[in-house]
């Protein structure tokens, strides 16, 4: 998607995409990913950076066969909503396992991968994906 190829748009998110940096509300302690400026729960406006561990479990998943622009070379790919151990949920691709092995409840961890490699600006965009916790126990069928 053209807009997602924007360099500043990517650059602004780099910290979160590379290191899973979110925020913690200093008033009520609730954690958020990505960062927010105001806490919807308590209205607190003082937030401090919080680095999520990156481990969690699959809440729901799908295998995507018809991709958006730019991701065609990866299809079919596994995609999941993952609940991080800190209680916050994120969406990400699942790699490092056979697509048929993905199950709700499976333990996963983040891995640093190429997200969009085809970019008219020549910038390869990296970020988090998820793989089975304790990888590499299984490594066939992996999608980069």
């Amino acid at each position: 998607m053209a807009h997602l190829e924007s360099v500043p748009m990517f650059w602004r998110r780099m910290k979160s995409l590379y290191s899973l940096i979110g925020v913690e509300c200093l008033n009520c302690g609730k954690k958020y990913f990505p960062p927010r400026l105001i806490c919807p729960e308590c209205g607190g406006k003082e937030m401090k950076d919080y680095r999520f561990k990156g481990t969690g479990k699959v809440v729901s998943y799908s295998i995507i066969d018809v991709p958006p622009k730019g991701l065609k070379y990866q299809t079919p790919y596994g995609l999941a909503i993952v609940e991080l151990d800190e209680g916050v949920r994120v969406t990400g691709q699942l790699v490092g396992c056979n697509l048929g092995e993905i199950k709700a409840g499976m333990r996963v961890e983040t891995t640093f991968r190429k997200i969009i490699a085809v970019n008219k600006n020549g910038v390869i965009q990296y970020g988090y994906k998820f793989r089975p916790e304790g990888y590499p126990r299984i490594n066939n069928g992996e999608k980069k």
Binding site: M1, L4, S60, S62, D65, V66, R89, T91, I115, K129
Partner: protein
């Protein structure tokens, strides 16, 4: 507060309308609505149009003025309302509120989308993906069908809903669409065909998804005085409710239910002083088969998890306990996204007037429309009676 009625409706056939541009499609619907209401283009005081993404689909913004001009509405206030696939329903609600508040007496509500000018399916997938969170969902590979696939998986996991039950929604809606001359698909399909139609996003197959469509719809809303002046068969809007939720699906408390639908329905039911049992039939937002099952639960027609079984038992057929999408729904009628919320009103008004011919629901006195944006970040519900 004043009562508000729908006094005129119009819509084009939905489908791939290669011969017509966005402005022509909308104007055809607008003319039909004006003629149906028996009023002239110069009687209309304001214009609201629902449209999701003409900017990305055809590179055209500023639709309020463009379409008001084309529909001959001259210099009246005109604006576009956007809430992804709920844009049409939101435009209706904005117009309704202005009449209720006493600002206007006669307002046109439009809904329009021109999707088939996009060069390829990938472009459409990408544009529809803009209804999700670009930075944290689309970027990592979530598609629009993918979001509903995540909902479907969670629903199947928790309640035992089956792929066959999902397919039955498509089969029913195609059966209904066969009787709707304006529907994109007017042929019946089988469960086997749905299951064999090729995976888009597991567990959703191609025939679990609503199609890429062009289409326009328009309705004329009037205050009570004006309704009585122009119409012998006004359809009253008894209640209107709207709610929002997080754009990202992963931030929602529950994947098996849309909180925005539940909240919007609650407000609409309260305003109408009615409950789900008082509704004779409904047009709900079945952008994907799972969406209809979840909607029938969230709107209170069935208990949570009971939507799959209900379609299997035929409760949602045209002659069932609570007919759902007698028009064919988004699935068979077509889903020109911004037009959908307004087209639902057109379908409901035809039924309440007893003019739905072969798809006519028995005892159609009250009806509900339910329009959703994205994976459920926007929901709008309206309740009507004749």
């Amino acid at each position: 507060m004043r009562n508000v009625a729908v006094i005129g409706v119009g819509m084009t056939k939905f489908g791939e309308l290669w011969d017509y541009s966005l402005r022509q499609i909308f104007t055809m619907a607008a003319i039909e609505a004006l003629e149906d209401a028996g009023c002239s283009n110069r009687d209309i005081e304001a214009f609201y149009v629902g449209n999701m993404s003409a900017g990305l689909f055809i590179g055209q913004e500023h639709l309020g003025a463009l379409l008001a001009d084309n529909a001959g509405l001259k210099n009246i206030p005109a604006m576009r309302v956007e809430g992804a696939c709920a844009s049409g329903g939101l435009a209706l609600r904005e117009a309704y509120l202005t009449i209720k508040a006493g600002e206007y007496d006669l307002v046109m509500v439009g809904g329009i989308e021109k999707m088939s000018d996009s060069p390829c399916t990938e472009d459409v997938t990408t544009t529809l993906g803009a209804a999700a969170d670009q930075e944290w969902e689309t970027f990592v590979g979530l598609t629009f069908p993918g979001a509903y696939a995540l909902i479907a998986k969670a629903h199947m996991e928790r309640y035992g809903t089956t792929k066959e039950q999902l397919a039955m929604v498509a089969v029913k809606n195609h059966k209904n669409g066969k009787n709707n001359p304006k529907a994109q698909f007017r042929r019946e399909i089988t469960i086997e065909q749905v299951l064999a139609s090729g995976i888009v996003a597991d567990p959703l197959s191609l025939l679990d998804c609503s199609p890429i469509s062009d289409g326009g719809a328009a309705v004329i809303l009037a205050s009570e005085d004006m309704a009585k002046k122009f119409s012998d068969t006004p359809v009253w809007i008894l209640g209107s409710g709207q709610a929002s939720d997080t754009l990202a699906l992963h931030d929602r408390e529950d994947l098996t239910s849309l909180k925005a639908t539940r909240l919007a329905a609650e407000k609409a039911y309260t305003a109408a002083n009615m409950g789900p049992k008082d509704v004779n039939f409904a047009e709900v937002h079945d952008c994907f088969t799972i969406a209809e099952i979840v909607a029938t639960e969230d709107l209170g027609f069935f208990h949570p998890g009971g939507g799959g079984k209900a379609v299997e038992e035929g409760l949602t057929e045209v002659d069932g306990k609570i007919p759902i999408n007698p028009s064919g729904g988004l699935k068979a009628k077509g889903h020109p996204v911004g037009a959908t919320g307004v087209a639902q009103v057109v379908s409901v008004v035809e039924q309440l007037r007893g003019e739905a011919h072969k798809r006519q629901v028995n005892r159609a006195e009250t009806a509900l429309t339910h329009n959703v944006g994205g994976s459920g970040a926007t929901a709008v519900v309206h309740i009507f009676s004749r």
